[in-house]
């Protein structure tokens, strides 16, 4: 177990080192001004500077606040709606074309419209995350409910388990592994669109920090911020994976 972790850590270190090496080589051979295309060292210094003056943590806090609200409200609404629609295939027949029409629209396309309605601030970023997470979670929940082994429903009918009890005790746990898949997928998408949302509709947060760095021609800050966004994405993914594992283990460790 420990050996396995060490090996995977080794792989991560090698992989990241290669990335930095390529960056460094590109820096050495590029003819751009180093203010426009900084070296890894310069980006790292900018990172230290941002940590030092508190700017980074302020922006992370702002972004995480929007992300948590947008993502979790979206997951809760989408799962609830999915559990209901999954049990009502006749109603879903009418909802599905709607969902299929709205789903392929990039959440960023809504951005100008949302800004018109809500103005600049927290709301556009939250709304865009909500939209980004909503459809994958809704559709995976509906299909998960439809895929439940009919024997669970038969047993439930036999034992007189109905409605809310049925959803809570049988349908949700039976569908959970597939729902979790959708929730997981949506996390990545939502994080991607948070940044997009903040670049257009906000005056704070990590996305805005990128725009701000560009306006001030601080490419070092810009690249450092991009790195931070990537790292937070990985951490969020890892946390969710951990939560998923916990829940599955509490439910008999089905994988």
């Amino acid at each position: 177990m420990i050996l396995k972790k060490l090996i995977s850590l080794k792989n991560v270190i090698i992989s990241v080192s290669i990335l930095i090496l390529i960056w460094q080589l590109a820096f050495n051979f590029s003819s751009y001004d180093k203010a426009l295309f900084p070296s890894p060292k310069m980006a790292f210094d900018a990172l230290v500077e941002m940590i030092g003056n508190g700017q980074l943590f302020e922006n992370i806090k702002t972004s995480m606040y929007r992300f948590v609200i947008g993502y979790f409200s979206s997951v809760i609404v989408a799962v609830t709606l999915g559990l209901i629609l999954g049990r009502l295939p006749k109603v879903f027949q009418y909802v599905n074309p709607m969902a299929q029409l709205l789903r392929p629209i990039s959440p960023t396309a809504w951005m100008p419209f949302i800004v018109l309605l809500f103005g600049i601030g927290d709301v556009p970023a939250i709304v865009i995350i909500f939209i980004a997470a909503f459809f994958p979670v809704l559709l995976s929940t509906v299909s998960a409910v439809g895929n439940i082994d009919p024997i669970y429903l038969k047993v439930s009918r036999n034992f007189g388990i109905k409605q809310l009890q049925l959803t809570r005790k049988v349908i949700f746990p039976a569908a959970f592994p597939q729902i979790a898949n959708g929730i997981h997928l949506a996390l990545g998408t939502a994080w991607i669109f948070l940044v997009a949302g903040e670049m257009v509709g906000a005056q704070s947060g990590l996305g805005y920090q990128i725009i701000d760095a560009r306006n001030n021609i601080r490419a070092d800050i810009l690249l450092a911020t991009i790195l931070v966004i990537g790292i937070i994405g990985i951490v969020l993914d890892g946390l969710l994976r951990l939560a998923e594992k916990r829940i599955l283990r509490a439910w008999g460790g089905q994988s």
Binding site: Y152, K154, V155, R157, N158, F159, K169, W251, G253, Q254
Partner: protein, 256 residues
Amino acid sequence: MYIEVKDTCKNFVQDGKEFIALDHVSLDIEKGEFICLLGPSGCGKSTLLNALAGFEKVSSGSVKIDGKEVTAPSINNITIFQNYGLLPWRNVLKNVELGLESKKVKKEERRKTALKYLELVGLSGFEKRYPKQLSGGQQQRVAIARGLAVDPDIIFMDEPFGALDAITRMKLQEDILRISREEKKTIIFVTHDIEEAVFLADRIVVMMSDPGRIKSIVKVPLGSNRDRTSRDFLYVRDKIFELFNMKSESYIEYYI
């Protein structure tokens, strides 16, 4: 009569063709009887069971239990399925408590009842295990304990031992026979295994396919201690074989 099936038909339409699963079937069952519905696949034995259990509606005729028309499944009549139907996210104890929860039994009482029936099926000490940590035979025992825990009047069993190996199956047959005597339940048991039917049943309902119908009802005049190798047992078994026209007519000489 306790269970009364009267002139019941059930038709399906499958790929545009009409299929008669039950063709004017009538059957009476008394309280406390152990009935086996025996026949090849397509003879309507599972359809009949599902109609009795309330999972399927019949096309015509009536199905009554205790004088009341069957329209939906009831917690008073529990069905045991071939693939067990345990909830994999609940441990053994919580699985057995499932039905008691809808009966609004208090927590301590639920636990006590569940433990009692787990002991009855020989699974004491397995409470904290999860279904996938058990063998098929053990899982079916949990399902039986779960069914018994709600104290049903009738237990329907739909080829419950069909997925188990021969030795485990025989062990479970012995146990279900013992349980049926101890708990005094009415049991309707679907099987395509002639020996299983002879071992378990008070009466065997022999069914035929195309269309699904009852060919004859055979009383099994064997006592409560049944021996698969006894002459009486083999005699009854042979009689059933004859009904299916499966007994070879020629005489074979054996040298043993």
